[in-house]
């Protein structure tokens, strides 16, 4: 398909997914809910779904304390710094590595899919990870930024 440079495209998806996830995790602090609580959960009126006893681990790190949401937000800011990129990361080996991004995006997918607000962020992060994987498989590399040099001398 054309001359699409996949890692440049993946960057836009990744930034979108990451910003979405950060925003979602922020709301996850206030409205805490384990996404998968409907599995074996029971509905109480009022009160909503009561997660099954087997989910107690997730309840304690998502509902009782928003540990997953905090981790997700920190990871999100990390990814944002990597992909935007932050000035201190520009042109470093970390910034030019696709595997690091793929792993971090998959980790973000995993965190985000655990809490109620994170579903879309998880899906978009997964898409971004796929795009970076494609870039890696195509053997794309991120070139070091060149200084702008004027050209001249040709009619």
């Amino acid at each position: 398909m054309g001359n699409l440079i996949w890692h440049e495209y993946a960057r836009y998806v990744s930034l979108t997914a990451t910003v979405y996830t950060i925003w979602a995790s922020f709301w996850g602090f206030y409205y805490r809910k384990f996404f998968w609580d409907f599995v074996h959960g029971i509905i109480r009126n009022p009160g909503g779904i009561q997660p099954a006893a087997s989910d107690s681990l997730f309840v304690s790190i998502i509902v009782k304390a928003p540990v997953v949401q905090i981790l997700s937000m920190l990871l999100g800011f990390g990814l944002l710094a990597l992909d935007y990129p932050a000035p201190f990361l520009k042109n470093t080996a970390i910034h030019r590595s696709f595997p690091i991004r793929i792993v971090l995006l998959l980790l973000q997918t995993f965190f985000a899919i655990l809490y109620y607000q994170g579903t879309n962020g998880a899906i978009y992060s997964f898409i971004a990870a796929l795009c970076y994987t494609r870039a890696q498989l195509n053997g794309e590399i991120m070139p070091e930024a060149k200084d702008h040099k004027g050209r001249g001398g040709r009619a």
Binding site: M1, G2, E8, Y9, W23, W27, I49
Partner: protein
């Protein structure tokens, strides 16, 4: 930059008016949506959700407004018809810009709307105001499903529409943007789940739209927003029908500089100078339409476009018509180097090669259009200043030819003089255009009617400097362009040019037969990059005075 965000957005009257009206309407709709939910007693149960439901309803109404607007700037045929009548009101050439502004605000309000709904559904489940869970609403009801699909489509459409992606792979943008069809379906169907209701269960019915408005109390915004969608869909079908009308590729000419000229005969195709068209060659791709500027004048018996082989599609086209990339690429390269000059200082550049079509029949082509700004206003001013920068010079091929035809017929209107500026990095790569300029220049009876000014902005080597210095002295033609007009080097000083022009007009030297009592109109028509446009516009405004009225128009091609 030199200009702050505040200066750009608020200190220009037009932009200020746009910002106030556009964003003012958004805030109004948000406020109204909020208020009408807040005060609706029938929806008291929903109002138990407090601020989140008011926010989601307000943002929902704004999104309906944006959804109705988003397709309006894409109604190309309608815009082409209404534009000449409404230029004073809004810059219709800026339709893509407007499309983007709507899209940006749509993204913002989608964020607000979705965030609020995440809170709404959470609280619906918690309080059981309706006997359903949050995920039921998200993933089993019409509103939730269409909403999440629209968000995903937006992610894909927005990311592929980034200018960087569009430039490197137009197909990715072009095909992905057709997801808009499903997006619009999602938008119109978003409320069919009857989320906004005064009953516990949705009040569905057997007749269209399959819910009753007795209990479903949404805004029914689809009744309004669906019309731009229907008109756009109709326009696409109309374009398809029009494109299928008899079209024949009559000739393919290859110019020495590597440009292919396609001469197409389509009797049903009517256009005016300065417009552009979409071209499709089914042999290469049955889906892709590529935009090109029309380079023939309406008086010509054919429609012509000049195509340079620079991308996948244009290479394939060259291959198909028998002007393979090797042939043309070598010619292009030669032209870039300026090799043609080796044939002698006065070697003609105008010779082109007609592709022999006996071997393989020329491919079928389809054209769609015309679109864009007609340059008819050129004939309403006394002095027309035509400025083309780089590739932006192409529409002026048609305009100059058209002016030439009108000159022959003596129907120039009030047009007395034409100043043509061409600011270009490497003039030889536009050899075909020079050929045309040569013809137009040679046909001038009145040496003062058309003045051609060519500025070469690239750096020149020492060899070339000497070459010019030696060859140029006393020669009848310019050694670079083979025009009588001398090529100038460096960037033009617009302020000096305009102030001199203004003085000359006021003293009556410039335009013969006009006196200073009458206000002369000088229209500038520019096509090229935005930075240059701004500089010229400023020069125009500075040169404005009581006797001379300078206007400026930027064309988008």
């Amino acid at each position: 930059m030199g200009e702050t965000w505040f200066q750009r957005e608020f200190l220009q009257p037009r932009r200020l008016a746009f910002n106030v009206i556009f964003y003012g309407l958004h805030l109004f709709f948000f406020g109204y949506g909020w208020y009408s939910q807040f005060t609706n007693h029938k929806l008291a149960a929903l109002n138990g959700l407090k601020w989140s439901v008011w926010t989601s309803r307000g943002a929902g109404l704004v999104l309906a407004f944006d959804g109705g607007l988003i397709l309006v700037p894409m109604l190309r045929n309608i815009i082409r018809v209404v534009r000449p009548k409404l230029t004073w009101l809004f810059p219709a050439d800026e339709n893509i810009w407007f499309h983007r502004q709507v899209a940006y605000s749509m993204a913002f309000w989608a964020m607000v709307h979705t965030t609020a709904h995440y809170v709404n559904f959470f609280n619906v489940e918690r309080t059981q105001v309706r006997p359903e869970t949050a995920l039921d609403i998200h993933y089993t009801q019409a509103g939730g499903i269409t909403g999440h699909f629209m968000l995903l489509i937006m992610v894909l459409m927005y990311t592929t529409a980034h200018h960087k992606i569009r430039n490197q792979c137009f197909e990715a943008f072009w095909y992905t943007h057709h997801l808009a069809f499903f997006f619009m379906i999602g938008l119109y169907a978003h409320a069919t789940g009857c989320f906004v209701r005064d009953s516990a269960e949705p009040a569905y019915s057997a007749v269209f739209p399959f819910y009753t408005t007795d209990h479903c109390l949404g805004y029914e915004s689809w009744r309004f927003t669906i019309w731009p969608g229907i008109i756009y869909f109709g326009e696409r079908i109309w374009r398809e029908i029009r494109a299928r009308r008899a079209t024949r590729l009559s000739k393919v000419l290859v110019h020495p500089s590597g440009a292919m000229e396609l001469r197409i005969i389509k009797p049903s195709f009517k256009y005016v100078a300065g417009q552009w068209l979409f071209i499709q060659v089914p042999d290469i791709s049955g889906w892709q339409w590529h935009p090109f500027t029309i380079t023939s004048a309406p008086e010509d018996p054919y429609v012509s476009v000049h195509i340079r082989q620079v991308g996948d599609w244009t290479y394939a086209l060259g291959e198909r018509v028998g002007a393979g990339p090797q042939v043309v690429a070598s010619m292009t390269k030669a032209a870039l180097k300026g090799d043609e000059k080796d044939e002698g200082v006065y070697g003609t550049r105008g010779d082109f090669v007609e592709i022999d079509s006996t071997g393989r029949a020329l491919p079928a082509v389809r054209i769609d259009g015309p679109y864009g700004a007609p340059a008819e206003d050129v004939f309403n001013v006394e002095v027309a200043v035509l400025i083309g920068a780089g590739i932006g010079v192409t529409p002026f091929a048609s305009i100059l030819k058209h002016i030439w035809y009108r000159q022959k017929k003596g129907t120039l209107g009030s047009l007395k003089r034409v100043e043509f500026f061409w600011v270009c990095r490497d003039a030889p790569s536009f050899g075909w255009f020079q050929t045309l300029l040569q013809e137009v220049e040679a046909a001038q009876a009145d040496p003062n009617f058309l003045r051609i000014n060519i500025y070469l902005t690239q750096k020149i080597s020492e060899d070339m400097l000497w070459n010019i210095a030696v060859n140029d002295a006393g020669a009848e033609y310019d050694p670079l362009t083979l025009l009588r007009t001398r090529t100038m080097f460096g960037r033009p000083d617009w302020k000096a040019i305009y102030s001199r022009m203004s003085q000359a007009i006021q003293t009556g030297q410039y335009v013969p037969g006009t006196n200073a009592q009458l206000k002369s109109k000088v229209g500038t028509y520019f096509c090229g990059p935005g930075v240059l446009a701004k500089a010229i516009k400023e020069a125009c405004q500075e040169a404005n005075c009581a006797a001379v009225d300078f206007t400026f128009a930027k064309e988008h091609f």
